[in-house]
Amino acid sequence: MLRALALACAIAATGCAAYQRGDGLSPSVIPPELQADYELFASRCSRCHSLARPLGARVSSAAHWQAYVTRMQRQPGSGISPDDQPGILRFLAWYSANRHREDVR
């Protein structure tokens, strides 16, 4: 029991010390005009799963993202309103165009 706890604490401490940016993007890589859109995306799309789901998705075209966001919006209790869609899609379009960059990846 104590060993398991010690191991858990050690892993947690190492992870926190390495301080990664979590599942999301570091705010510094996002252009200022898209900061609000990113915040909206990060808040709405982390409700049922981590941001790794959309950020790791093999989705690139605007039409495919549109289909995804509409699909997720229709999930029960999605918390995504029709007003949220344009901002989320703006961020996702920028992300798809820049995801190859080392700092964004």
Binding site: M1, A4, L5, L7, A8, I11, A12, G15, C16, A18, Y19, Q20, R21, G22, D23, G24, S43, S46, R47, C48, H49, S50, L51, A52, R53, L55, G56, A57, R58, V59, S61, A63, H64, A67, Y68, T70, R71, Q73, R74, Q75, P76, G77, S78, G79, S81, P82, D83
Partner: protein, 388 residues
């Protein structure tokens, strides 16, 4: 040899050429969780066969979502876990106008809130809440099963609706007709969940089960939402369609910024085949009276969970959950007619890098109604999860 190879080529071409000919958007997604459950207090207490297993469990899921057109999406998900390979999803959604979606195939019928997050990549603790447990809780063998082991996957059709009622309120609803949970024996005491999953194509009683969910969501502030919902499932489960189950639940979810508070309550009433006093420990009715053909057992369960981000990559989770069973028992049952579990869990969820996380939790169990002895037990989980 040539025959089967040709058939395989024709089949493959038949499946993929239509997609290649049209612009179909595919996305692949997967989750892998490996969790170690450690039960230190059980080590010196035989018989171990009745105790939970200390050890690893692995859950893997691979999913393809194909957007066939603006209105149609097909989803196929294969899972590998304690029951071997299973099809967790194989359905098609047709999105009609006005927020209505028609779904057909093999899917998880809408029920409660946890059902959406059942994938280990989506929930933050290593294991599921007790009312949805599928084999990881302590004393599983004595309690048999939880209220509704998740994921509950079934074949059938569902209609789902999602409507904005003004700017701040959203209504979600879903109604389904599915094959239903089942037991293959002629005189069951309970639903056989493993069989319900493993015989996916044959309905044992040719009578569908029905159910649905209604939920309302309120946007209280730009980053604060409250969701409340109520769900139900109802149907016959034995071969002769004489014994029924009713599952009902209510769910609540408050999200403030990145903090989540979730609560659910589930209840299941299940008819047990009676008619024979030798099958039960307590009298089935007054002396001399005709014996009832069935008696009910009741299971209910709940959880309240608070998920609090403390760093960008670290969440703390506190959960209180429980499971109770009441009703007549079979002779030599390890349980009294009133038995239950209450559990307190403290967990952490650490994102090491995008898509790779470490989950750790310590759980304190209080168990009552166990003939052997009531007990307090401690369990610890340590797991890694990758989403890709």
């Amino acid at each position: 040899m040539r025959g089967p190879r040709l058939a395989a080529m024709v089949f493959t071409a038949g499946v993929f050429l239509p997609f290649a000919a049209r612009a179909v958007d595919f996305n692949f997604a997967g989750t892998l969780q490996l969790d170690y459950l450690f039960t230190p207090l059980s080590l010196d207490r035989p018989p171990l066969g009745r105790r939970p297993f200390d050890g690893f469990t692995q859950e893997l899921s691979l999913k393809v979502a194909a957007d066939l057109s603006e209105h149609v999406t097909a989803n196929v998900k294969v899972c590998y876990g304690c029951h071997g390979f299973e099809v967790g999803m194989a359905y098609v959604d047709y999105r009609l106008g006005g927020g209505v979606t028609f779904r057909a195939g093999r899917f998880s019928p809408s029920f409660g809130e946890f059902g959406l997050r059942h994938d280990p990549g989506n929930h933050r603790l290593p294991d599921k809440p007790l009312p949805y447990d599928m084999g990881r809780m302590l004393h599983l063998l004595e309690f048999d099963r939880s209220v509704l082991p998740a994921p509950y996957v079934d074949n059938g059709v569902e209609v789902l609706g999602h409507h904005s009622l003004g700017r701040a309120v959203t209504l979600d609803w879903a109604a389904h007709a599915v094959t239903g949970l089942r037991a293959r024996s002629e005189a069951p005491y309970d639903i056989e969940f493993t069989q319900s999953r493993q015989l996916p194509y044959i309905d044992n009683n040719a009578r569908p089960s029905v159910g649905g969910r209604v939920g309302l969501q309120f946007r209280i502030a730009p980053r604060t939402d409250l969701t409340v919902g109520a769900s139900t499932l109802y149907g016959p489960y034995d071969n002769n369609a004489n014994l029924q189950y009713l599952v009902a639940g209510t769910d609540l979810w408050l999200r403030i910024g990145r903090s989540n508070i979730r609560a659910e309550y589930l209840y299941r009433r299940t008819d047990m085949a009676a008619g024979d006093q030798a099958r039960f420990e307590q009298p089935l009715g007054p002396m001399g009276a005709a014996l009832p053909a069935s008696v009910a057992q009741h299971r209910d369960g709940w959880y309240i969970e608070w998920e609090q981000p403390v760093l960008r990559n670290l969440d703390l989770i506190v959960r209180w959950d429980g499971l109770r069973r009441s009703g007549n028992v079979r002779p030599n049952s390890p349980l009294d007619s009133e038995a239950g579990i209450s559990r307190l869990t403290l967990g952490t969820h650490l994102t090491v890098s995008r898509g790779f996380r470490v989950k750790a939790a310590v759980e304190h169990y209080t168990i009552w109604g166990l003939r052997e002895q009531n007990s307090q037990e401690i369990a610890a989980h340590l797991g890694v999860v990758a989403t890709f």
